[in-house]
Amino acid sequence: MYPEQPPGNGEPLLRIEALVKRFGGFRALDGLTFDLMPGEIVGLVGPNGSGKTTCINVISGLYSPDGGDVIYHGRPISGMPSHRLVQIGINRTFQVPKPFPTLTASENVRVAAAHGRCDCTAVDVDALLASFELDCYAGRPAAELNAGQQKMLDLARALATGPSLLCIDELAAGLNPAELVRVAERLRELARSGITLLVVEHLMGFIDQVTDRVIVLNAGRGIFEGPLRGAVTDPKVIEVFLGTENGD
């Protein structure tokens, strides 16, 4: 029903339109709007509590929005259950990795391969694990992996479903510099293979390495869109970041 190939004619893959998400009286998203083009790597940055993770949660179907729309391949998808979104090519990773702790690493990926997009049944689980250096842990319960390995497993699991759009929530935190370089290269590779990436990240160096452009969020609203270099000179952005401390 949803085409495997990215839409042509400069149509965006995903369009976020005036998205609103409230928790009680707090507006975590307050009219957020942006587009993602096919094959793009876009960074989502902003201070803590600016709505980055909430945005991913809405896109991946964990929350349904209180206003606005998420449009994928030209069709509204907000309110669709997560597993349906996965099957039409949207997936994500978690800030705190959430593997299936009692299943082995290989089983973790196999579950995803079994339920992902129907035309991706022939996922080579072993190769996928190997590409994240998890091949020697394939038979171990995921609970025994360390935090970094669990993050990679999260990513491998998401990829096993054959996504067109992958939202990545703080992958870099906790990885050492060498790992960072490898992961960045891996993400660029994914983008080259046609997967669109939305990357939430605090590490600006990492963002700079992988993204084509960034969207800066503040209080649930986009305040800047463009290359990272542009963002750092934007007065509004500077004000937000200086106001909240640059440790972000």
Binding site: H83, K98, P99, A112
Partner: protein
Amino acid sequence: MPRTMRHILVALVPVAAMALLPLVYSNQLLLFNFVVFMILAQGINVIYGFTGYLPFGYFGFFGAGAYGFAISIMHLRMTPLPALGMAAIAAVVLALVLVPLFRLSGAYFAIANLAAGLAVYQVVSNPSLDNITKGPYGISLPAVFDPNFSYGIALVLLAATMMTVIYLRNSKFGLSLQAIRDDAVSAAMAGVNVVRLRVMAWLLSAVIAGLVGGVFAWYISVFYPQTVFSLDFSIFAIVFALFGGMTTILGPIIGVVILYGIYNLIGISTPQYFELVYGLLIMGLVLFQPNGVVALFKRWGIDVP
């Protein structure tokens, strides 16, 4: 030998043993109770072992099955085998009504499920339903009483239940259920239809309890509502399955053999300390071996599927 074949061979051992034991041991009813608890413990395994939901009110399905069977015999004039089908249907209907309980997690689900089982008991045993269920006055089905045939059917049911668990252990379906149990959100992000699979497992375990309830009603043929709607059936099955080891094929069976065996030994030798010893055993299990004896075997290097 492929894994599934090996599992099937292993699973046939208890079935064959329960089929042969009546030849050397004449207390068939005790053996029948063993079979009933083996089936119930596997039913618990399906829902608690594979999805992590603790069905404290599991006896509700057992009782619904027993009454579905009895009502089909009494009012619809069915023969026992089709009546067993009605037992399964009764349990499935109850399970469907209770599907919304899956919105609850942890202890909340267990408590609500317990309440549901007790509620069904209250309804079935109410004198105003005398015409349908015979209310509190009890059921007597002397016309279909046939211990040998019903024992045989119970064995068939045991075999079928074992096959179900083997299927869960070796299929994508079973793997996905375990994924849901481990982390429902992640399972959804792996593309698993969490709600549908969970409900399927729930119905499956309800069918198992309903069928065994029907066979139980058939075998004993005289019973009161409190006979079949007894919390003991839930507790025993849960403790047996847990003692053996959840999510395994032989664990629940081993649990029944050891614990129900001890239960009957104490019951016959030192009945005055029966409840005490049993309570202590349950406590010891949770405190010292919460993953069951199969996990213990694994630690000793013995692989029990």
